[in-house]
Amino acid sequence: MGSYTSEELLIATIADMLEPARHIAVGVLSPIPGSAALLARARSGNTKKVSIIGSMEEPYRTDGGVDLFDCAAQGRIDAFFLSGGQIDGQANINLTGIGDYPRQDVRWSGAFGSAYLYFLVPRVILFREEHSRRVFVPQVDFISAPGTSAPNVYRPGGPHALVTGLCVFLFERARGRFRLASVHPGHSVEEVRDETGFDFDCPDHVPTTRTPDDATLSLVRERVAPAIASPYPAFARRVWPQAVA
């Protein structure tokens, strides 16, 4: 097996989770999830549809935000990605800020489409490369979008997994908790425990995250790299300097 970068591992890991999705939407500032969506599409023989918010390129561009949000509510989007300045063990995400609202000590951008797509897209994958107690907290300061809802709340969607620079958690909706599913090569369960501020379920044996095989790496470098370079030129140049020279 060839060598791979940490980005390629994450891309391949997320792409595996997108297998059942027919239509994958990707938000702004998401080069790794975007690459994963493109990889999943390439693997499907391009039968999957990938919509990249803000893309100006066919076939990835959308008819705009209203169309995309409506599309999700119609049940026509199967997978989406969210992140957070803070994420807690109930999969609540905070994109807003830290401290007493509204004059917070730390203020971020805002909730964007989170407290909507998180409810409506069946498979939402949380992605945050930085794995630290600063990010993964016992309880978020501000719930931009909740991870779980009361049974009477209309919510066909929700969190499927949390992918970080260290590991993969799967979210168990019935229990409302994360379960450690795999740890990336070169990292350990102890490291994950040390760097995670929230409590999570952990089986006795935690496998190592599957590493990308040669076929995957070829697809990533030959098909995904040039395609993701259009919305994310700086990212593509950094990760695949040869492929997108």
Binding site: V66, P102, G110, F112
Partner: protein, 278 residues
Amino acid sequence: MNDAPASLLLDPVEALAARIADGAKVALFKDCGVPMALGRALVRRRARDLHLVTVPTGGMLPDLLIGAGCVATVETAGVTLGEFGLAPRFIAAVKTGEVQIRDATCPAIYAGLQAAEKGIPFMPLRGLLGSDVLASRADFKVIDNPFGEDDPIVCLPAIRPDCAIFHAPCADRDGNVYIARQAEMKILAHAARESFVTVERIVDFNLLEDDRLAPATLNALYVSAIAEAPGGAAPLNLPGHYDYDTDAIRAYAKAAATPEGFRVWLAAHVLVQTGAAA
């Protein structure tokens, strides 16, 4: 209509800025084209107490207006400079309380505008339940879906801006505006009482008489005034016309990180205005 009121086409962009009153609720479309030239003219005319509605999010333009002291309230799903980082003047003003923040989500902003577009008092929307965004908005109401059973749903009040401002590729002399693929500009223009538009150029034929252009044209009925402002979205982009000026945006992001840096930037790039960059 070969007979639009002569006053519809105004020149220069200062004349448009003069029509946007202090205290006005002003909707800013996020996607191309962001009316940067008009925004700079608003700063120069020392606009005050604006209530900005970003549609649905915003970047350099609301950050600039906030930093220049034009804004009392910002209603937004998020303000960010994207790959150039957080929006420094927005963040500083929210933290001090200098501007009142009304956090929303992207679809909530759209739904509020669509309610205004449809002349209905509110629009139901899924999501939001259990979020602190909802908790922070006393004007959002939760009702029981009258067609369901024990099915709470959020209702959002209509957002009716006093005006929408945006930049577009072209307009005709009858006041019709070509909005290209930005179909949501129609929602914005329908929802707002008035629309003030800057364009790259004025064309000499009626856009609505061209069957290929008409579907992407905003009817003059919704347009109060137009100013020709070539490069009016710069340093942001206008697809098919010009790309982002990344150096200029990066320079802004760096300067705006401090109040002093912002003041210097403002003096150099907005207050002392040369014709070409207006």
